[in-house]
Structures are given as structure tokens and as C-alpha cells.
């Protein structure tokens, strides 16, 4: 029962659990999720070239064929952002989705995966003040929501050492923007307006992973450009108890995303990885208009995973505990006022068995971005991520 409740909690909260962020998430579809697991985050958010027997890869479907047995995986994160221009920091938590892998066949390593994952989040909460003659007022700007996806895909190893994967993504989600103008004179009616944009559409993800070179894994994934439907409603709340809704329909472009990575098993205990990914939002249209504040996004990362006690047969748990370290730099797709803010992150993490073949992974990231010349000033970011992957034993009831 506890497992079922936990499962349901993950399922019901992931689609709407994008919360927390800065005003920058007002633009585009918000802050994009890296869609990496805690294991991958610990290694500089490298993912595409990694193969794992337990970790369900969200960026390269070809890697699913490396997973042994039935698995369920979920994660959550907490983020803390301190801005030099603000006395208060922004903190947020989010459910990072869950995935389910079902092994169909072993000869060709055929795997079936379904996932529900966050794609982006738009969450900001800021306010300004104004004065109308002698009447002061406060205006609050708020955004919430984001895009999520439901995924269903398969992977296989049709030829030894060559794994391929493909997945269908169904995108959905609401991004809301709300305004509230409230006079200090509380007898006056506050003005509340809300714009809700609903998205739905589909796309694909393809992946390839080659491990024919001794100690090397080379991976690549591509998410072709697609357009999702978007419909927008504007609601005004009046004293007359009714509200006006005006709407528009259009499409939202999701540009092509490409990633390529390599992993090198340097020794029995040490794995090194590196990755490059890119997605150009410069010409992406929303409601047939080019969006302000969008540019080219890219990421370059390096990481390492180390099992120092792997050969220690006396320490069963410790022998399966991994330590991770990584670094990545990232250019987000948001370029407000033509100012791009490169992000730099140092990452670390640990992976450990929980019981049986279930594993937990914890990653800690410290990053910085921006500069004093920018509107938000410089920002320091602390991020903690936890993933859990459970195997077949999770689904077997204990005998009394």
C-alpha cells in the first residue's frame, strides 16, 4: 500500500509539479528541464553516452536496452537561487517525473518504456508598485505551469553492440500568467486578469548507442522539430461576477534538439563521460510570431563515476556505491535584451543500493550565472536531486 501511495504521488504531481523560478521563465515556454536523472546530474548532466543496468535514460532511448529487468524510476529536486539584486532567494521543489521499463525480449534486448516527464517550467512571482494621483497600488505578476510529456517508446539491439531506440512524445501542459492590481485602499476592487495557454501535440525522440569499441560507449539522440497546438484564453474578473474570455489558437514550435556523447570506462572502477547538446530557439514561432528573448541553447559537460569499493566483497553495500563528479556549462535558450547568461555548474553525487537491486541516487549541483550588469544581477544556484529506481522486488509482496 505504501508503495502504491508513493507511486500515485509521483504520478499525480509530476505533470503540475513545476514550481519555483525567476522572472526569466516568463519567456518562451519557461526554463527547460535537462531531463537527466540524478546519476547523470552527478556527472555533469551527461546522459547520452551512458549505459546502465538500472538507470532509465531520459535523453537517449537506445540506452534502455542496457537495463536489466523490469524497473520503475522516479525523481525529485530542490533548487535554491540567490540573486545579488534581491534580498530574498528563490527556492523551489519539483517532481522530476517517473519512468517505467518493461523488458519484452532478451535476445535483441527489446525494451518498452513509458514515462511522464517535465519539459519546462514557468514560475515567477514578482511585484511592482505604482501611484495613480494620490492612490498607491501594487501590481503582482505571476506565472506558473509548464510543459510535460508522456512518452512511450521501444529500444532494441538488432545487431550486437548497436542499440537503437525510438519514442513517441505527447506534449501537454498549461502555462498561465496572472496579473493582479490591488490598491492600498482595500475598499476598491482589485483587478485580476489571467492568461492561460494550453498546449498539446506530439513529437519523437530517436537514439543510437554503440559500444563496439572496447571500453567506449558512443551515443547520440535527436528530437526532431515539431509544432504543438496552443490555445490561449484571457480571463478578466469583474465585480459583475461574470468574466470575459477572449481566445486565440495557434502553434508553438519546439526546435530540433541534438545530443552526442561518449563514455569511457577508464578502469574497472572509473567511468568518464563527456557530452554536447544543442537546440536553436532563435526562429521558433509561437502563435505565428517570433518570440522575444529566445536564442540558441547549447551544453557541454564532462563527468566521472567511481566505484572505489567495487572489489571489496566484504562490504556488500559499499561495493555497489558510486561517487560522482562533473562539470557543465550551459547557454540557456533565453536571451533577454540580447543578454545571454552562461551557466556554470559543478556537480557531485552518490549512488547506492537501497535493497536488492533497487538503487537510489543523489546529486548536488552548485552553479553560477549572470553578472552585475544584468537585470537579475549575478545568481548562485544550489540544486539537489534525488532519483529512485526500483526493480522487480519492488513489486513482490513480502511474506508474513
Amino acid at each position: 500500500m505504501k508503495k502504491l501511495i508513493f507511486f500515485l504521488l509521483l504520478f499525480t504531481t509530476v505533470a503540475g509539479a513545476q514550481n519555483g523560478g525567476t522572472v526569466e521563465s516568463r519567456y518562451g515556454i519557461g526554463e527547460l528541464d535537462l531531463m537527466t536523472t540524478s546519476r547523470q546530474r552527478g556527472m555533469g548532466s551527461s546522459a547520452v553516452g551512458l549505459l546502465s543496468a538500472t538507470d532509465i535514460n531520459n535523453l537517449n532511448p537506445a540506452a534502455w536496452s542496457g537495463v536489466n529487468g523490469l524497473r520503475l524510476q522516479g525523481g525529485m529536486s530542490f533548487e535554491y537561487i540567490a540573486m545579488s539584486r534581491s534580498d530574498e532567494a528563490v527556492s523551489s521543489g519539483a517532481i522530476k517525473g517517473f519512468s517505467f521499463l518493461f523488458p519484452l525480449e532478451e535476445q535483441f534486448r527489446l525494451r518498452l518504456v513509458t514515462s511522464i516527464l517535465p519539459v519546462s517550467r514557468s514560475e515567477y512571482y514578482t511585484q511592482g508598485n505604482g501611484m495613480l494621483e494620490n492612490d498607491p497600488y501594487t501590481v503582482t505578476y505571476q506565472g506558473f505551469g509548464g510543459l510535460s510529456l508522456f512518452r512511450a517508446g521501444v529500444s532494441a539491439e538488432p545487431i550486437p553492440h548497436i542499440k537503437i531506440g525510438a519514442a513517441f512524445n505527447y506534449y501537454f501542459g498549461n502555462i498561465d500568467q496572472a496579473w493582479e492590481l490591488r490598491f492600498d485602499n482595500t475598499a476598491w476592487f482589485p483587478a485580476r486578469q489571467r492568461r492561460a495557454t494550453t498546449h498539446n501535440g506530439s513529437g519523437f525522440l530517436f537514439g543510437l548507442l554503440y559500444d563496439g569499441i572496447r571500453d567506449f560507449h558512443i551515443g547520440a539522440s535527436v528530437r526532431p522539430a515539431t509544432s504543438v497546438r496552443a490555445s490561449r484564453n484571457m480571463v478578466f474578473e469583474y465585480t459583475t461576477q461574470d468574466s470575459t474570455v477572449s481566445g486565440a489558437s495557434g502553434t508553438l514550435d519546439l526546435p530540433l534538439a541534438f545530443s552526442a556523447g561518449i563514455a569511457w570506462q577508464a578502469s574497472e572502477l572509473l567511468l568518464l563521460t563527456s557530452e554536447y547538446s544543442r537546440q536553436d530557439w532563435t526562429d521558433a514561432l509561437m502563435f505565428d510570431r517570433k518570440q522575444i528573448g529566445q536564442g540558441e541553447a547549447y551544453k557541454w559537460s564532462v563527468g566521472a563515476e567511481w566505484y572505489p569499493y567495487k572489489n571489496d566483497t566484504e562490504a556488500r553495500t559499499l561495493s555497489r556505491t558510486a561517487f560522482r563528479l562533473g562539470f557543465f556549462l550551459q547557454q540557456p535558450y533565453l536571451a533577454i535584451d540580447d543578454e545571454t547568461g552562461m551557466e556554470y555548474f559543478i556537480t557531485t553525487g552518490i549512488g547506492f543500493p537501497i535493497f536488492g537491486n533497487n538503487r537510489g541516487d543523489f546529486a548536488l549541483e552548485y552553479g553560477w550565472r549572470g553578472s552585475e550588469s544584468q537585470l537579475l544581477g549575478s545568481q548562485n544556484i544550489l540544486r539537489a536531486t534525488l532519483s529512485v529506481t526500483v526493480g522487480e522486488s519492488w513489486f513482490i509482496r513480502k511474506r508474513d
Binding site: V23, E24, G93, T126, D135, F189, Y238, P353, F355
Partner: protein, 402 residues
């Protein structure tokens, strides 16, 4: 059991640690910060909103004012007014359907019969003047909730008075208007024989009186209501009986008074006002935060006969052809710094303006005089054709749209 699935103490420790971290992060997913001004400059210009103001005075908005007669019954009035003064002609109607007396009607001698009215200090003209109040028998059907001044020409009444009171009236006290005993006996017989509706009562008027006096009506407190009192001598002695199942109302006529550039609200008669503001300068569908209406009184053309309330009732007009006021209105208050200025604000006015801004309809506002049913007073307000600083002024605060 799956091999290797046994858990030792270290595994349990891992589970506990993991559960604690998971629980902490899960709780923190509900975190939300208070709004912070940081980043407000990042909001794109197209998303910025603010408050704006529409002022009919400074925006030179189109405005219209007018007045109209509102003919209505006064069946629920707490006062009855009788007399002629200042071009007003006020009359009261009373009747008693039932006069208990069983066999007294046939055999008793009516010693006296009179209508007792209790005075109220409200008046038009000289309160101390001697008034000649005449009672005339009404000979056609009337109902206090339907009869209006328009019905007066069709109301049949006796040409000869059936009772006359000619004395000065106390400022507060009572007067007894004597009635013809023949009429009273007719009412007695009708009452006993079940022909109640044929007791149609009397009309009280004071032609040429140069004064109008007010009296309590049947809606007043028990001791001050009009009463029909009949003193009879029977075989058993002197008996006093009172009329029951009474009905009363009052009617007043006055030529409508027009004054250039003014709206003159009349209670009693009554005359109401209309205001119309063109708010098309406010972007359609904007959210109205607050609306305020300011009216300026013309004290020279206003009267203070009765209660002379320095207030006006303001309603949204729902139908400009029928002049239908909304169900909820607002009462004006006096500006503390400018006593001649009446101000009204509140949810009812805000909603009315919101309907106009939303382009649902705009039939303007209706102004009602206070105590419209009971009093005789005039309140003059500067209209649309007056000087700019005196004409009605509508101030609307609204929020711009992103």
C-alpha cells in the same frame, strides 16, 4: 524470494536515510516564496499593466441629464398630506370597510362621527394658518396600491362635502374631522349586510388653503393612525365604535418644474432624474476598480419643507425606455469640504460602470429623491448644461490590459 533480496542493517539504514531525504524534498515541492520586486524590469512591456483614470470632467466626455415624471401609488406612505401651497395640491383618501355594530346600525342614534388624524410638523406654507379641510364621499372604487394622480379625474366623489374641519392645526396633536351621520349609517348598514366594498370612504382636501399639512397614515405606530370614531346611543347606553379594515393613501399634483441646466427631483409628485455618461474612452473590457459619482446641489432651487434630506438615491438604469432602476442602489453622502457636493461610490455603481465598459449596455443612472413616497420636497442638481465644475462628474479608476 529473489536471491540477494535480503536486507541487512546497513540496508535498513540506507532506506531510512533515503526516506528522510525523499520526505524532505517532497515537502519542499510545495515551497513558494512571497512576491519579490526583483526581476520586475524583466517583465516585457507588453505584459505591464497599471491603473488609469477616467474623469468625465477633464476628459470632456459626452454626458446627458434629464428628468421625468414617475407616477406611482403612495399606498405604503407613512404620511398623508392635505392642502394647497406652492402649486402643490395634496389630497388624502381614507376608507373603513368594516364598522362593527351588529344591530346598532338599525336602532341606534348616532351622536357624533369623526375622523381623527394626528398631525406631523412637516408642512408647506404657514404652519399656523387656519385650514378648511373638506371631506367628500368617494363613490367609485379605489385601491391604495393602484390609484395614482392619473386616476384622480376618474374618481367619483360627492359635490357637497360630507364633513368640514375649519380651525388652525396643532403642530403636533390631533384633529377630529366630523362626518355626516347619514353617511356613517350607510357604512354601518353596508358593513353589517356584508357589502364592505361599497364603503368607499372619503377624500380629504383643503382647496385654497395656502398651506399643506402632514398627518400620520395607517402605516404609522398604533396610537397615531387615522381613526374613524362613531359615538352612538343605544338601549344600553352610549357606545363608541371604531372603524376597522382601513385603507389610505394620498395624491399630490404639481406642474412639472423645469429649470435650465438643472435636474429637479421631486418627492411626492414625483420627478426623478436621469444621467448618462459616455465611457467609450475607457478601453472595452477593462476592469473597473472604483467608480465615484459627484453631484452638485443648487440650494437656491431646492426646498426644505419636510425632511429635506441632503441625499439622493442612485440606481443603474436597466431600461432607458421603461426607466427601470436596478434592484440595489446607493445613497449619496455630503462632501465634508464642499457641503453642496453629493458623492456616491460603492459596489452598485462600480458594477453599473463595469457593464458600460464591457459594452453590455449603457442606459445611465436614475436619481431618486429621498422619501419619494412620503415627503414634499425638491432637490435641484446642476445638470449637463451647467458650468464644468458643477455638472455631474463620473470618476472611474480602471486597470489597463496587458
Amino acid at each position: 524470494m529473489i536471491p540477494g533480496d535480503t536486507m541487512n542493517n546497513k540496508d535498513y539504514l540506507h532506506v531510512r536515510i533515503f526516506t528522510a531525504i525523499a520526505a524532505m524534498l517532497l515537502l519542499l515541492t510545495a515551497c513558494r516564496n512571497d512576491p519579490d520586486p526583483t526581476g520586475i524590469d524583466l517583465i516585457p512591456d507588453s505584459d505591464l499593466i497599471g491603473a488609469a483614470r477616467f474623469d468625465s470632467q477633464s476628459d470632456s466626455a459626452s454626458m446627458r441629464t434629464s428628468q421625468y415624471a414617475h407616477v406611482a401609488p403612495h399606498g405604503s406612505s407613512t404620511l398623508l398630506s392635505i392642502g394647497e401651497a406652492d402649486a402643490y395640491n395634496a389630497r388624502a383618501l381614507l376608507r373603513w370597510l368594516l364598522i362593527p355594530g351588529d344591530t346598532v346600525a338599525y336602532g341606534g342614534r348616532i351622536i357624533s362621527a369623526f375622523i381623527r388624524l394626528h398631525t406631523v410638523p412637516y408642512h408647506v406654507g404657514d404652519i399656523s394658518a387656519v385650514m378648511r379641510i373638506e371631506a367628500r364621499e368617494i363613490m367609485s372604487f379605489w385601491n391604495s396600491f393602484t390609484i395614482t394622480t392619473d386616476s384622480l379625474p376618474g374618481l367619483e366623489r360627492s359635490t357637497v362635502p360630507v364633513g368640514v374641519y375649519e380651525q388652525d392645526l396643532p403642530e403636533s396633536g390631533s384633529i377630529d374631522i366630523p362626518l355626516d351621520s347619514v353617511l356613517i349609517r350607510t357604512w354601518l348598514v353596508n358593513s353589517i349586510e356584508g357589502r364592505y366594498t361599497e364603503n368607499r370612504g372619503v377624500l380629504l382636501e383643503a382647496p385654497g388653503s395656502a398651506a399643506i399639512r402632514a398627518f400620520h397614515s395607517l402605516d404609522a405606530t398604533a396610537g397615531e393612525r387615522p381613526a374613524l370614531i362613531v359615538v352612538m346611543e343605544t338601549s344600553g347606553g352610549i357606545d363608541t365604535i371604531r372603524g376597522e379594515s382601513a385603507d389610505d393613501t394620498w395624491l399630490v399634483t404639481r406642474p412639472e418644474e423645469q429649470a435650465s441646466g438643472r435636474i429637479i427631483l421631486h418627492s411626492g409628485v414625483s420627478v426623478r432624474g436621469r444621467l448618462f455618461f459616455d465611457v467609450s474612452a475607457i478601453p472595452a473590457a477593462s476592469i473597473v476598480n472604483h467608480a465615484e459619482l459627484r453631484l452638485t446641489k443648487d440650494t437656491e432651487l431646492s426646498t426644505r419643507y419636510y425632511r429635506a434630506a441632503d441625499s439622493v438615491l442612485v440606481y443603474e438604469n436597466l431600461d432607458s425606455t421603461q426607466q427601470t432602476p436596478s434592484s440595489s442602489g446607493l445613497i449619496t453622502r455630503t462632501d465634508s469640504e464642499q457641503p453642496a457636493v453629493l458623492i456616491t461610490e460603492g459596489a452598485a455603481l462600480t458594477r453599473a460602470v463595469q457593464n458600460w465598459v464591457n459594452r453590455k449596455w449603457n442606459h445611465g443612472l436614475i436619481l431618486l429623491p429621498m422619501n419619494e413616497n412620503t415627503d414634499l420636497d425638491r432637490l435641484a442638481i446642476f445638470g449637463a448644461d451647467s458650468d464644468a465644475e458643477k455638472r455631474p462628474r463620473l470618476i472611474v479608476t480602471y486597470t489597463t490590459q496587458p
